[in-house]
């Protein structure tokens, strides 16, 4: 297990480096620069700016600087907001995205698993149809549409909740609802289908024949196996939700880090692109690593050390 973890750790570092290098060269191959806009751009001013951000240096020097930035985790100042370093932006935005993400994931996992389980137990019953109708809607309605609807109905028309910003628990309700609906639906569907499969297995009959209580059968024997697909998607889902979602954060004016991904690319804000990409990929790779470990706990048949040989 320890060897496996060490191995996986070095794989993680290698993956991040590859992603970082690809990002760097892709970023420099797209036309445009951070200083291109509609306004008059005086050549002198452009030169001053390029010098200030060391963009006048040859590409390989810039690449080395960039590798140094990754190792020291210091990406320097943002180009669009020259008074702030990329580190400051990430340190400010990430905890907020994380806060929203954790609440969302919690809501999605609890309600998704509950819905899915009951739907499977009442297969082809009214609960099943109800839950699956909800799931279809949840998957197919984009969260920004839902967000706008929620604001218009609950905040503007009924005035129950504040429409936007991120300043009190009350402000968290609408964005959480908007963001959690999709993942809830996905988790509910996955739980339902794998639960249905598990329930037909021989060992379920065995459990029933042993005279175990239905509660114990479902939660101890069935659900545990039925959750494998859910855990599989959790890694990417977590990384995606926890590091901020651009659209929801924009609509609700939440100062998370989602916008740095998107806006930095539009602005060609190189340090922010690099900082957020490296951060995001490190986070994603780490989540996948965690999921692999959780597998081992949930399903003893998956032996971590056996994977060692594969890797």
């Amino acid at each position: 297990m320890a060897i496996y973890i060490v191995k996986r750790f070095f794989m993680m570092i290698a993956t991040i480096l590859i992603i970082a290098t690809l990002t760097f060269f892709l970023m420099h191959s797209i036309p445009g620069s951070p200083f291109d806009d509609e306004r008059t751009s005086n050549p002198t001013i452009q030169a001053n700016l390029e010098k200030y951000y060391k963009l006048d240096q040859p590409t390989h020097i810039q690449y080395l600087n960039y590798l140094k930035a990754i190792v020291t985790f210091d990406f320097g100042p943002s180009i669009k907001k020259p008074n702030e370093s990329v580190n400051t932006q990430l340190a400010r935005g990430f905890p907020i995205s994380l806060e929203l993400g954790l609440v969302t994931i919690l809501v999605a996992v609890l309600s998704g698993i509950t819905l899915g389980t009951f739907a499977a137990l009442r297969h082809n019953g009214i609960v099943d149809y109800g839950a699956m109708a909800f799931a279809v809607i949840g998957i197919s309605v984009p969260n920004f549409v839902l967000a706008t609807l929620l604001i218009q109905q609950l905040a503007v028309n009924l005035q129950w909740l504040p429409p936007a910003t991120w300043s009190s628990p009350k402000h968290m309700i609408l964005p959480t609802l908007a963001l959690a609906t999709g993942p809830t639906a996905i988790i509910a569907r996955l739980t339902r289908s794998s639960m249905l499969e598990v329930l037909t297995q021989d060992y379920m009959k065995m459990a029933r024949a042993k005279g175990l209580s239905p509660f114990r059968i479902v939660f101890r024997h069935a659900l545990r196996n039925a959750l494998m697909p859910v855990v599989t998607i959790m890694g990417t889902m977590l990384a995606g939700i926890l590091t901020g979602t651009f659209v929801i954060e924009r609509i609700f004016a939440i100062p998370g880090m989602g916008k740095y991904f998107v806006e930095s690319i539009n602005n060609r804000d190189y340090p922010v692109i690099m900082g957020s990409t490296v951060f995001y990929s490190a986070f994603l790779v780490f989540m996948l690593f965690l999921v692999d470990i959780v597998y081992g706990f949930l399903d003893p048949r998956i032996k971590l050390h056996r994977k060692e040989g594969d890797a």
């Binding site: 001013i45 008074n83 340190a91 990430f94 218009q152 609509i251 609700f252 004016a253 951060f279």
Partner: protein, 554 residues
């Protein structure tokens, strides 16, 4: 089941821990915001109890200001704040004229080259220091220092020695600005400039408290270190979330300021901002484009001119637009009135020349009115010109025309309208191409597009600011068009000291530009905002910066 829950909980915990170790500061931040939020709420609550009559205006800045260093924050999101927490020598009044502000007296030498400003005795910084001439010298040199890399520095090139210093060709001591004594600030220009007093209303010409800045170069980064000299002071700044102004009791004209506080949210989504406006959390909001038609007749809607325009460029080195008649044919095939009425639907004024409305000449007449419509919809003439142009070039078939715009729904709508007009009037099939805006900006400057979308916003209130874009080799030209007569006209305008003559030359330049047609104009911009009933006195200038000095809320 318990085990499973335990694992989930463990995974969650590991996650949170990972998040905290990923960055040392990351863990601290939520605690800080957690601690701040209740205290802020408390502050607000008790504040309201203590002085229920406090006038607080709720505004939206859209996003985090770029910088409150006046040399760096060169955009609207910084100016809207800076213009209210700092003040330059001059300020725009409600007729958009530059009048004395921090300066109480302005003497201009007879040759128009030397400006002597006398600074008010009661002009003070928000920390109580007097504003001295040295603060202006310090700030302007800071802006021109190549190491500052200020995007605004070109505005100061009218000043002697400024361009050379910014180019690293001269020294700071050779710049024609001087503090004769604490209250006298002298500026020497390279050539007389009608617009100079207007140009220095731009925040990049605001003073910087030299003592404060020397002490802490990052003085502008946070509210507790920020020192300004405007009608308001910066009371708090929660980065990326909001900031707040309080009335500045040290301001020389504090009696004129009616608001106690201004709260600025940073809501980037125009629909959300509008919904917050509807639910009473904002007093002022923009108009989301989807709502423009519905809100057209609202009592809360306010429309102000904005000096700038939407236009298209021809690449005069790419066929068929090497031919003037063909360029004019395309220009005349466009119906500007139709575009503002049916496509943009935002009450803009159609553009029949390049210089915008809002410039009054020495004869007291509006520039646009005296020049008249220089290009307008004329299908017959357009067809005729196209035929003649094709004959001149020996075309039997017109070379393929591609129209390029940066990706956006509104640009697309206009491009489609143009495409159908070219087909309808000239019988020409054009192709549309949209390009991501970063790529668009750089490729347009590299002359890669035959015909492309553009916009222009004035940097200062003088027609020459727009017209000089099209001199040979200007970085704003982007058409490859070069005309010796036009270059000469702009040169003459810059050296002309007689106001009436200068005005005639400006009109000639606008005429020549439209005659040669390297570009064709579509419409002039405006600013549409919603203001709650009871909100008064907010100044919005065609060229200039949001001014809350006289704003009030009842």
């Amino acid at each position: 089941m318990k085990k499973w829950l335990m694992f989930m909980a463990m995974a969650m915990l590991a996650l949170v821990l990972a998040a905290c170790t990923a960055n040392k500061d990351a863990g601290k931040e939520p605690e800080k915001t957690d601690a701040n939020t209740p205290s802020e709420d408390d502050g607000k609550g008790s504040g309201e109890e203590a002085s229920a009559g406090d006038k607080i205006l709720y505004m939206n800045n859209g996003e985090e200001p770029t910088s409150f260093d006046p040399s760096i924050g060169f955009d609207a999101v910084s100016w809207s704040a800076l213009n209210n927490i700092m003040e330059g020598l001059t300020r725009l009044d409600d007729n958009h004229k530059a009048v004395e502000a921090t300066a109480e007296k302005i003497d201009i030498s007879e040759d128009g080259l030397t400006y002597t400003f006398t600074i008010r005795d009661n002009a003070k910084w928000s920390n109580g220091d007097p504003v001295v001439a040295g603060d202006f010298v310090y700030a302007w040199k800071h802006m021109l220092d190549p190491a500052t890399a200020s995007p605004a520095s070109f505005l100061a090139y009218f000043i002697e020695g400024a361009e050379a210093y910014n180019n690293e060709e001269g020294s700071a001591d050779e710049i024609g600005i001087k503090a004769e004594d604490d209250k006298t600030f002298v500026v020497k220009l390279t050539a007389p400039n009608e617009a100079f007093l207007n140009i220095i209303t731009n925040p990049s010409f605001f003073p910087i408290n030299e003592k404060v800045a020397a002490d802490n170069p990052q003085w502008h980064a946070n509210a507790d270190t920020f020192v300004g000299n405007g009608p308001f002071k910066l009371a708090s700044w929660d980065h990326d979330v909001s900031f707040e102004f309080e009335k500045n009791e040290h301001y020389w004209d504090a009696d004129a300021v009616k608001l106690d506080k201004v709260h600025w949210a940073m809501v980037n989504d125009s629909n959300t901002a509008y919904q917050m406006y509807q639910s009473g959390e904002l007093d002022v909001s923009g108009v989301p484009s989807e709502m423009a038609e519905q809100l057209k007749d609202s009592d809360e809607l306010r429309v102000d001119d904005e000096a700038g325009l939407y236009f298209y460029r021809f690449n005069t080195s790419m066929e068929p637009f090497t031919n003037k008649k063909i360029r004019r044919a395309f220009g005349m095939a466009i119906d500007q009135e139709e575009i503002v009425k049916y496509v943009t639907k935002n009450d803009e004024k159609p553009a029949h020349g390049f210089v915008t409305y809002g410039f009054i000449g020495p004869d007291g007449k509006e520039f646009r009115d005296s020049v008249g419509d220089l290009i307008s919809y004329n299908p017959e003439e357009a067809k005729k010109l196209l035929e003649e142009g094709m004959k001149e070039e020996g075309y039997t078939e017109l070379p393929k025309v591609t129209l390029t715009y940066n990706t956006s729904e509104s640009h697309q709508a206009i491009a489609i309208a143009l495409q159908s007009k070219f087909k309808e009037v000239l019988g020409v099939d054009t192709e549309l191409q949209n390009v991501e805006s970063g790529v668009f900006a750089s490729e347009q400057k590299e002359f890669k597009y035959q015909m492309s979308r553009s916009s222009f916003l004035y940097d200062y209130a003088d027609p020459v600011n727009a017209l000089e874009s099209f001199i040979t080799g200007s970085s704003m030209n982007r058409t490859t068009w070069s005309n010796a007569e036009y270059d000469k006209l702009i040169e003459d305008i810059k050296n002309e000291t007689d106001e009436t003559k200068r005005w005639e030359l400006l009109q000639d330049a606008d005429r020549l530009l439209m005659e040669e047609m390297p570009i064709f104009p579509l419409y002039f911009y405006n600013q549409t905002t919603l203001e709650k009933p009871g909100v008064t006195g907010i100044l919005r200038h065609p060229v200039g910066y949001l001014d809350l000095k006289y704003a009030d809320k009842n």
